[in-house]
């Protein structure tokens, strides 16, 4: 299982796929991935924690650093795949003020591109 943060891009979205343990040692690969993201001039940063089951304080600190950097670059940040416990921790450290927590990628996309509202049934015209 990969221990490093992977980068992938989809249009304006740059994905950072976090490994199982997000710890201090993750920092190097995380920044390497983030640099790619910067070069790609993505506008959206998507932090994928779907495979992560252990984030310690160092890992959360890493996320804070990345988010603050992305915010300064004017990028919007999403995070998804987190358990309720880590979402609680994200909230405790104030990350939820700087990123959008969503349940999954689709939720993110939906938030970025909200589906068009369902068309309202046309009302019949009445004669007067």
């Amino acid at each position: 299982m990969a221990k490093d943060v992977q980068f992938r891009q989809d249009g304006k979205i740059g994905f950072l796929d976090f490994p199982r343990d997000v710890i201090a040692q993750t920092r190097e690969s995380a920044y390497a991935a983030y640099n790619q993201l910067s070069v790609s001039k993505v506008e959206i940063v998507a932090m994928n924690f779907e495979t992560s089951d252990y984030l310690n304080s160092a890992g959360i600190g890493l996320v804070i650093s990345l988010v603050e950097d992305a915010n300064r670059a004017g990028r919007r940040v999403f995070a998804y795949g987190l358990s309720s416990h880590y979402r609680k921790l994200f909230s405790m450290v104030g990350l939820t003020e700087r990123l959008s927590l969503v349940t999954n990628e689709q939720a993110m996309r939906d938030k970025l591109n909200p589906p068009p509202p369902p068309e309202e049934p046309k009302k019949e015209e009445t004669k007067s």
Partner: protein, 985 residues
């Protein structure tokens, strides 16, 4: 100085010398003086004999020589006179007046002759001067009466000898010598003597000029020969070469026939032929005479000159000389003798003085040596024995002994030396016995008994033949405590000198005795003090090793002196840890023991605040530095902390020998840990070394007395021997047997030599114990990286993770997990889980999972379990990363205590870095830092952060059952979460 009856020593005599006071001297001086007198007398005799014999003969011979010298001298004067006369006549013969032959020139010639005679003053010695022609006819003459004879044609009184005329009669110049001729006129008793010299006349012929000599006047007036005959019997004779007497002086009544005996014709001819003077004795008329005969050779003619003297007169003269010489010699000898005798007297005095000085010096030296010898030991019996040995060197005795008063006032024989040892079988004398000795003690002065048979004070000693006795008091602090007995085998054996010497000796002996007694008292006092001190010291040292199942301990401490400078302590600590200490105070004896007691007290106090060895030694050094420096002492100390759960030894060393550890391969090696002794410097800083010693390994702590144990060959036991010994020790050898082997090896090395330093050894041997099984957590989530007991650490760390299928064969990091029955050997409460985590990041997951398992067992909700897991992980991670600085040899202790209604988690580290107080807000130094403690405090119901006395950090967290996530918000963090801060900052 005290006076005693003087009995002359057998080798002493009295000398009355030149009226001086009586001198007490030994034979050699008297003999020297006598020999000196005899020598002087002998000298007088020798000198007299020399004067009468050798000197007499020498003087007589000298007379002969002198007579010869005078004779020879007179002869030489005569020769000189006649040679001068010949020179005058030759000069005259060469003058023109004489060489001319004209008749008219005759007056000038005669005038010239007369002038010449007058100028030379020869009027009396030259009777006439005549000029002859070559045929012997006189031409003219001086004085005028002779010329008248010529002019008148009368017969001339003498003529030219025919042998000359034969040469010149034919005419011409003939070479002729100037010669003296004897000429005898008819009817004349004495011959005349003519001195004839040739004249080269102007006629071309050799003619003659003749001096007619008056020899008697020549000898008596011109040569004044009578002056040489100044003695009463002295005579002078002059004969011509034919033995005709020409002159005699002071030979009245004697004729030439009287002296002819002095020399025969042969002798005369020999003398004339050889021209040497001779000495002869002759006896002309019953009176022997001594004569010196000397030749006088002039102008082809010879005379004989003889000086003679009566032998008796010469002998008398010699005798007079001898008498004079003898008188002078005797006078001189007497004078010398007087001076010599005076010198001898002075010599005797000087010798006496020098003898006295030398004797005093010898005595002083002897007493000095005695003093040195006596004071070379402070052992009482040795001193007593030496007193007699040294006394014997000064005063030869038949026997000697020392009696000392005992506590009952009885005299006891303390020591004895001499031939009558059997007589001293009696060792104690009653008050009624040894009266003389008691008198010595009572008076405090010596007592002399020169004849024991006639002195009522003397009590005969059976088996002894003591004829004379001298008792000398032995005093200690001015009080007589005993008697020095000196026994003689003859009566009157002790001289004044002996008594004085013995008294001086007894004073020295008393001083030595006093010193020995003082020393004896001091030794007893010190022994008592040391006994007390040893008791105190022993009470401070462990007597039995503590009963720790995980560790076998054996120790011994052997003091080089009664009180040792080595010390050791084994102090039980909380959590069943054990503090182990071995120290060595500089110096030995009481001071070292007192310092040891101080250090032990400080050690037992400081360990309550500083459990970890490095910090403990730093604290001890700071606390004891001033006191140790003040006493110019220091102390080596090695401190070890043993954890029976992890088998971890943490060690710090302040100047002790590095301990030895046996590795699993059975080989021993030292542990590289060291530092300055306590009390050496304020800058000393001690670091802690950690090592795991699992069963099968062992450790030896020891003082330097082991390796520095030196045998009589000067060889140290040394590290090499120790290592060789340890490497031979069986791997399963008990601590006790290892200790025994070490001590025996050192003992054998010493080979009965006394160890110079204290020897302390402690052997520590970890033991395998039965551990509780891990069944309650079987199947718990182990980190995925370490499946099934994969080794976590290097082999040296000896800490392994137990495999699930080998639950009890190896020590586990999951100790004491026993929810059901617990373990009798342990005092921990039930339902505890204690973890020892290596300080490696990642192991926090082990604790996290263990906490999860327990919490789940206890019935916590999943949310709370998640909170617990995060808090436990964060606490462990901080302990690993900051508290222990990821030192893999330092463990993080995690104790999970399950109790009804709550779960308490204690996470403890070694405190390499301290948690700051107060905690800064998270994200202060950097946005991504400082969240760990924030989570802990936020997620746990109770959090307590403590700095332990021994230096570690303790994070104690509690989570309660029944509390919901919603309740969590009610729990306020005790402090703002923050990051770890380096203690150095």
């Amino acid at each position: 100085m005290r006076k005693y009856a003087i009995i002359p020593y057998i080798n002493t005599v009295f000398i009355y010398f030149l009226g001086s006071s009586v001198l007490e001297r030994r034979f050699p001086v008297f003999i020297a003086a006598g020999l000196g007198v005899l020598l002087i007398v002998a000298l007088i005799g020798v000198v007299t004999l020399f004067a009468s014999g050798v000197i007499g003969r020498t003087v007589l011979d000298q007379f002969k020589v002198q007579q010869l010298q005078i004779g020879t001298s007179v002869a030489q004067q005569a020769e000189a006179y006649f040679n001068g006369l010949s020179f005058e006549i030759i000069s005259l013969a060469s003058s023109p007046e004489i060489q001319g032959i004209g008749t008219s020139q005759t007056p000038q010639a005669i005038a010239a002759i007369e002038a010449n005679i007058e100028r030379a003053g020869r009027q009396n010695t030259v009777q006439s001067v005549t000029r002859f022609d070559f045929r012997g006819r006189p031409r003219y003459a001086w004085p005028s009466q002779f010329n008248v004879l010529i002019e008148q044609g009368e017969e001339y009184p003498f003529a030219i000898p025919p042998e000359l005329l034969e040469q010149t009669a034919e005419g011409g110049i003939i070479e002729l010598p100037t010669q003296i001729y004897r000429f005898t006129l008819e009817g004349q008793a004495r011959p005349d003597y003519l001195l004839i010299t040739p004249v080269e006349a102007r006629t071309g012929n050799t003619e003659y000029l003749v001096y007619e000599l008056n020899l008697e006047d020549i000898f008596s007036q011109d040569l004044n020969l009578n002056e040489f005959v100044d003695s009463e019997s002295g005579q002078l004779w002059i004969l011509d070469n034919e033995g005709t007497l020409l002159y005699q002086a002071r030979a009245e009544g004697e004729t030439i026939s009287d002296v002819r005996e002095a020399f025969t014709a042969t002798t005369l001819q020999n003398i004339l032929a050889e021209g040497e003077s001779v000495s002869r004795t002759y006896d002309p008329s019953g009176n022997e005479r001594i004569a010196a005969i000397a030749p006088v050779q002039v102008s082809g003619y010879s005379f004989i000159l003889m000086l003679s003297q009566d032998t008796n007169e010469a002998s008398n003269l010699v005798a007079n000389d001898i008498q004079l010489i003898s008188a002078m010699a005797i006078g001189t000898i007497i004078l010398i003798s007087l001076l010599s005798l005076f010198g001898v007297r002075r010599l005797v005095h000087e010798t006496s003085r020098r003898r006295a000085e030398a004797s005093a010096q010898r005595t002083a030296r002897a007493l000095l040596e005695v003093s040195r010898a006596l004071n070379s030991s402070l052992d009482l019996q040795t001193v007593l024995d030496r007193i007699l040995i040294e006394l014997q060197k000064l005063i030869p005795f038949y026997s000697a002994s020392i009696l000392l008063l005992n506590e009952r006032g009885l005299l006891e024989v303390a020591t004895h030396l001499g031939e009558d040892s059997e007589a001293h079988a009696q060792t104690t004398f009653l008050a009624t016995e040894a009266r003389a000795a008691r008198e010595v003690i009572a008076r405090g002065h010596p007592v002399i008994i020169q004849d024991t048979n006639n002195d009522e004070r003397w009590t005969p000693l059976p088996g002894s033949d003591i004829k004379s006795w001298m008792g000398l008091p032995l005093r200690v602090f001015e009080r007589s405590v005993g008697v020095l007995n000196v026994n003689g085998h003859e009566i009157d054996i002790f001289s004044t000198q002996d008594v004085e010497l013995a008294e001086a000796f007894s004073d020295q002996a008393s001083v030595a005795l006093q010193n020995a007694r003082l020393h004896d008292m001091e030794v007893k006092r010190i022994e008592q003090e040391l006994t007390v001190a040893r008791g105190i010291q022993t009470s401070l040292l462990p007597t039995e090793p503590p009963n720790i199942p995980e560790l076998e301990i054996a120790f011994t401490s052997l003091a080089a002196r009664q009180v040792s400078g080595d010390y050791f302590q084994i102090i039980p600590l909380p959590d069943r840890q054990l503090g182990i200490f071995i120290g060595d105070v500089s110096g030995k004896g009481m001071p070292a023991a007192l310092i040891m007691a101080v250090i032990t007290t400080a050690l037992r106090d400081e360990i309550n605040r500083h459990r970890y060895p490095g910090e403990l030694l730093n604290a001890l050094n700071e606390r004891l530095l001033d006191r140790l420096l003040q006493n110019q002492m220091n102390s080596a100390l090695i401190a070890a902390l043993f954890d029976p759960i992890s088998y971890e030894f943490t060690i710090a060393n302040a100047g002790m020998v590095q301990p030895y550890v046996r590795a699993e391969d059975g080989m021993w090696d030292f542990v590289d840990v060291g530092g300055y002794p306590l009390g050496s410097t304020q800058q000393a800083h001690y670091n802690t070394k950690s090592l795991q010693l699992q069963p099968g390994k062992a450790m030896v702590l020891f003082s330097d007395g082991i390796v520095e144990a030196m045998n009589r060959r000067g060889e140290f036991f040394g590290f090499e021997r120790l290592e060789q010994l340890l490497n031979k020790v069986a791997s399963d050898a008990t601590a006790e047997s290892i200790l025994k082997e070490i001590v025996e090896a050192v003992d054998k090395h010493l080979d009965e030599e006394v160890a110079q330093d204290d020897i302390t050894v402690m052997v520590l041997r970890p033991l395998q114990t039965e551990r509780p099984t891990l069944s309650p957590i079987t199947g718990s989530k182990l980190p995925a990286e370490f499946p099934n007991g994969k080794e976590l650490l290097d082999e040296d760390d000896s800490l392994t993770l137990i495999a699930e299928d080998e639950p009890a064969k190896k020590p586990s990091i999951f100790h004491h997990l026993d929810f059901s029955t617990g373990t009798e050997n342990y005092s921990m409460p039930r339902q505890n889980v204690e973890l020892f985590l290596p300080s490696t990041l990642g192991f926090e997951k082990v604790a996290r999972n263990a906490a999860e398992a327990i919490a789940r067992e206890m019935g916590f909700t999943e949310d709370r379990i998640d909170d617990l897991k995060t808090a436990v992980a964060e606490a462990c991670m901080n302990a690993i990363e900051h508290g222990n600085l990821q030192d893999r040899s330092s463990a993080v202790t995690v104790l999970l205590s399950a109790a009804p209604g709550h779960l308490q988690i204690r996470v403890e580290d070694r405190g390499r870095q301290s948690i700051p107080d107060p905690l800064p807000a998270p994200g202060t130094s950097a946005p991504d830092r400082g969240w760990g403690l924030f989570f802990i405090q936020s997620l746990m119901d109770e959090v307590e952060i403590t700095r332990l006395p021994e230096g570690g950090n303790l994070v104690k967290m509690t989570i309660y059952l029944g509390k919901t996530e919603g309740d969590m918000s009610e729990s306020e963090p005790t402090s703002d979460a923050s990051e770890w801060v380096d203690e150095a900052d």
